[in-house]
């Protein structure tokens, strides 16, 4: 078996093991941070180097192709970025820092396996591994009760969603005798009209809707974002979303577009998620809760791309995964800088950010404009791709509702930007002292958001090829 193509996963696993042993050594946050940056950096390089790797491992239960490798690179970049902003990890007690890095890397490893898994068993256990490490990361939040009720809620909703998914997978397997995706993809279009197959697919998608915070399973998102440490919330809103988009694409590709019921089902969920997310976000005072509701809305936009089940739709969904990764992470970078003490942050606390730290205010503004879909940011390109893919399939009403939602969302994004740029800073709020390197990171991210927005062609070519590998 060819171990080279498995190297990103091995890097990740090695990092996790290093931190397992470091958790037994004396507490030293500085050392943990440096080790984490170095090791995750190596993993990112390994994944970028192996982006064109191809092959099948473990008796065909694990498939490595351009599709999975592109997602793995995104995941590892997400991990690396989250590790970079963990230098002032004040939301978590010092003695748990090695555990924090260990759980983060194991979660990334699980998500990487999730995007490569092509057997229902591997898919299920990888999903469970990533969910459990996230539950524990949420509990790690320092303080008495923050994280208690949100952690419990996260756990109960997550476990019930994955049990539902498991039952759906059981129905699928029982109806088709296919556990490998490559068999399922051949069998399902022929039996799609049996009720148990449709029910099985719908239930199986539930587990991923939970991770993605799509409508019926979105309750946890605001509480968990609020209850978890900033870095953990950043991870949940970036890397874990990216992986789920990959799996949803794989699952949707299984039907081959043969079922209109499933498309209608997804369209309804997309519309409700967008609307609920955007309307509730308007009323939010806490910045992290606002970001949670906005990610519920963005899950709706991605679903529009996914339910096209066409190469254009898949390309747009993958591109949107990258978009969400960059934009959400930039928002959380600012959150971590402004709320360096690890406490939650009200929107009012952003007042006068442009005086306290111009670069952070600029980063926040670019990211929020990107989320709202204003050109020339990457967010505009992402939305444009999704909407054109949906138009090509003739879903005009869906696109219209999504456009309407984009307008609603503009309102609350502008409220935040207004707080950062137009309000005067509160008394006694001096200049912000960002962590070393945070300014450079923010600048790089802003440049990337705008540059990819203006000239997306090279990345789009890669993503288009990845979407082809999905077929």
């Amino acid at each position: 078996m060819n171990w080279m193509i498995f190297s990103p996963e091995i890097c990740c696993l090695a990092t996790a093991l290093v931190f397992l042993f470091l958790s037994m050594a004396p507490v030293d946050s500085r050392r943990d941070y440096i080790v984490a940056i170095a090791l995750t950096g190596v993993a990112v390089c390994a994944s970028l180097a192996g982006i064109h790797a191809q092959g099948e491992l473990f008796h065909g239960t694990y498939r490595i192709d351009l599709f999975s490798q592109v997602f793995k690179s995104m995941l590892l970049m997400g991990l690396f970025l989250v590790v970079v902003i963990s230098s002032g990890l004040n939301g978590i007690e010092r003695r748990y820092h090695p555990e924090f890095y260990m759980l983060l890397t194991i979660c990334t490893l699980a998500l990487m396996m999730l995007v490569s898994a092509v057997h229902i068993l591997t898919l299920y256990v990888a999903l469970e591994l990533s969910s459990y490490s996230l539950y524990i990361l949420v509990f790690l939040r320092k303080g008495r009760d923050q994280g208690t009720s949100s952690g419990m809620k996260f756990f109960l909703i997550g476990a019930s969603a994955s049990a539902t998914m498991l039952f759906g997978l059981a129905l699928l397997y029982g109806a088709t005798n296919a556990a490998y995706f490559r068999v399922l993809i051949e069998v399902i279009p022929g039996v799609i009209h049996q009720p148990e197959v449709i029910l099985g697919l719908a239930l199986a998608l539930c587990g991923f809707f939970f991770k993605m915070a799509v409508f019926p399973f979105h309750f946890w998102a605001p509480d968990v974002y609020e209850g978890a440490a900033h870095q953990v919330a950043a991870y949940i809103s970036t890397a874990s979303k990216v992986a789920v988009i990959a799996v949803l694409l794989r699952m949707a590709a299984l039907t081959g577009g043969a079922s209109t019921h499933l498309v209608h089902f997804l369209a309804i969920l997309a519309i409700i998620s967008m609307t609920v997310g955007n309307l509730t976000a308007i009323a939010q005072k806490d910045l992290k809760r606002l970001l949670a509701f906005s990610s519920i809305a963005h899950a709706g936009y991605v679903l529009v791309g996914i339910l096209c089940i066409s190469p254009q739709g898949n390309t747009s969904a993958i591109f949107y995964a990258l978009t969400v990764l960059l934009l959400k992470f930039t928002c959380f970078l600012v959150v971590v800088q402004v709320a360096f003490d690890g406490e939650n942050i009200e929107i009012d606390r952003l007042a006068g950010l442009h005086r306290r730290s111009p670069i952070m205010a600029l980063a926040l503004m670019t990211a929020l404009f990107g989320l709202a879909g204003i050109p020339p940011t990457i967010g505009f390109t992402g939305k444009l791709l999704i909407f054109t893919a949906a138009m090509e399939k003739g879903y005009f009403a869906l696109v219209l509702i999504a456009m309407f939602n984009v307008v609603i969302s503009l309102y609350y994004y502008l409220l935040v930007v207004r707080a950062a740029y137009l309000l005067e800073p509160a008394e006694g709020e001096g200049a912000l002292a960002p962590m070393p390197g945070a300014g450079i990171l923010a600048g790089t991210l802003v440049a990337a958001i705008v540059a990819i927005g203006i000239y997306p062609t090279p990345i789009l070519e890669l993503i288009r090829a990845a979407a082809m590998a999905l077929g």
Binding site: T61, Y62, A110, V125, E128, L129, Y132, R144, P195
Partner: protein, 175 residues
Amino acid sequence: MTIYSTLFYLLAVLILASTAIAVTRRNMVHAVIYLVISFFGSALLFYLFGAPLLAALEVIIYAGAIMILFLFIVMMLRMEGLEDRLFPLKQWLPAVGVCFVYGMVLVMLIVSDTTDAPPMPAAAAAPATFGQFLFQRHWLAIEIVSMLLLIALVGVLRLGRDAGGKTRPESEVAQ
């Protein structure tokens, strides 16, 4: 009706009845005991379906370890006598709603399945064959599950270490 199908129906009635009793008990100790019976029934069902290893594991892990853990916790937290107000009306509605929709689908499923599907032939997987299959085909999944258990260990350790958060300072003072 063969002896096997008679056995299946008997077990199905046993499992469904004991589970139904379990989920409606107020007293949690009773609920757990009824569930143990239900899981024993499932274990027998697994044996009937030709999975002797799984039947043993179901008894050892599900009915044994997991349910006993529940029993420990219920007794440790002294909740045997705690009266759980059964089914508050507020939660009745979504529960009944979800179950009704799901039940309808299930009924549809049964009605639509009128084709005389042949009864499944009996078969048995020898534990050795099963183990070989597992370690040849699915050892990646085994590794993932082993990591899952490691993570659960870390999580419980963290929860356990902090569990006395409120009482520990007092006990330290007492020392």
